[in-house]
Symmetry: C2
Subunit: 136 residues, 2 copies
DNA sequence: GCATTTACCGCAACTCGATTGCAAAGATTA
DNA sequence: TAATCTTTGCAATCGAGTTGCGGTAAATGC
């Protein structure tokens, strides 16, 4: 497991107080977080600072964003070695009961045969249902 | 191809002026439309009426909604016989250049082996890239 | 056919997540 | 140190989505 400092260094993002605390928070959780989640967890850090930090992280591929259909964009730390290429794609699972979003790194994404002349750049694959905790 | 009246009858949705015009508009286009798209195309129809119409259509499985990551929910008419079950899933393609969203009915969705005790209800699979028109 | 109930429509207002302008504080460079 | 660039915090704004409400139209009961 890499530390915040190592990740920021590798991704060439300057280390600041807000960036460290946001990244540490994301690393400490296994689930994707919304801006509001992070804001609530870090009450002394300003929302717009967190917002801009997330944008910076995304541009530099420290994190990736997920549209899970909950109405809020969520963010999760990229896996080590991830370049956010199509090959780094993975499914996300959104629990419709507890509103949590999981990265399904272990579920392979098949090759998608697009129509002629369409070019794949990215994908956002969200599977919805009940997570193990809510499926009882 | 079914007419608006036939579809509404089959899906047990009462036919009204707004519903007819909205459904006709969606049927006339091969691409998924946002509320704003529809609003712009139907300048004499009120936004909230269109909004409620879309909600009604969605509840009654006349249309399905797509979160393509553009920030706006888009809507497309369900294929004939669609029940919006997981088996009726299909990929959507979002063109990052022209902002259009296509239903890829012909691309099969593989079985997704979820982690133990997770239950699939729905999915939102959006592939992003360039459409044939923009990929030149 | 007429009264009553229910559903639909249009307008305006509001909610809330996302985003931006700006000035102060901090870091970097010359 | 001075000049420059970046980051931060606050407040304001934007825009998609949603709702309350009164009026109108359609369906139902008598």
């Amino acid at each position: 497991m890499q530390t915040e400092e190592e990740i920021l260094k590798i991704k060439k993002v300057k280390n600041t107080a807000v960036r460290t605390v946001v990244l540490r928070h994301l690393l400490s959780l296994e689930k994707a977080q919304s801006l509001k989640d992070i804001e609530n967890a870090l009450p002394y850090t300003d929302r717009s600072s967190i917002f801009r930090t997330l944008k910076t992280f995304e541009e530099n591929k420290v994190i990736h964003s997920i549209e899970d259909g909950s109405g809020m964009t969520k963010y999760a730390v990229c896996a080590e070695g991830c370049n956010c290429d199509p090959k780094d794609l993975h499914y996300h699972f959104y629990c419709t009961n507890c509103d949590k979003t999981f990265c399904l790194f272990d579920v392979p994404i098949p090759n998608i045969q697009l129509p002629k002349n369409f070019k794949l750049q990215q994908a956002n694959m969200v599977v919805k249902g009940l997570c193990d905790n809510c499926n009882r």
